[in-house]
Symmetry: C2
Subunit: 119 residues, 2 copies
């Protein structure tokens, strides 16, 4: 339930691309940095054991799929992050993140709408 950083990278790929083989994931990862094939394989096997990924055997290949939803996972991660880095204050996180970001006026409007909904 607490993916490590490398696991997260793999999840990203699967969330973006949908169910994939090790090779597909590995190739995607390699666009950012060099990672050996067996490294990715091993990681995905471990994630399968931990029930983070499901696996379907199609002939000789294994096709993996994320069992955690992106949203749920992000929710968890934010909780932990707020605790460890912001002493529990989500608002501080939000304001800092917003300050750093180069949000477009549209995005800012969208955010305002979200705020109004929350009130």
């Amino acid at each position: 339930m607490k993916p490590t950083e490398s696991e997260l990278e793999i999840l990203q790929v699967l969330w973006e691309k949908g169910p994939s083989t090790v090779r597909q994931v590995n190739e995607q990862l390699n666009q950012a940095k060099e990672v050996g094939y067996t490294t990715t394989l091993k990681l995905m096997q471990i994630m399968h054991e931990k029930a983070i990924l499901s696996r379907t055997e199609e002939g000789r290949y294994h096709v993996y799929e994320a069992l955690l939803s992106e949203e749920e996972t992000q929710k968890h991660l934010i909780d932990r992050f707020v605790d460890t880095a912001f002493r529990g204050s989500a608002m501080k996180l939000v304001m800092q993140a917003l300050g750093n970001s180069k949000a477009t006026p549209q995005e800012l409007d969208e955010l305002k709408r979200l705020i109004d909904q929350l009130k």
Copy 2:
């Protein structure tokens, strides 16, 4: 420049309490969970080596102080977090964090003001 989780816990204490001895920090940490004195000591020594903390020797004691500012550090952490967990989209992080949080109406107003400033 990339504090680990334990290091962050120590930084939190120093940011909150200001310059402190190992014992003071350790006692603070122990309110949340049990940590041995020498564990905290070692960690703070390492942080000193890494130039995360400064150290002043006052008689027999060493007084440590954070060399990283809370804001700067949080900024870095957010950047990394946005990358690893939100594929680079700070807006997604902000909206998720806001959705999860139980912000008070006052806080939401404050946030709106911040947004207007950014526009």
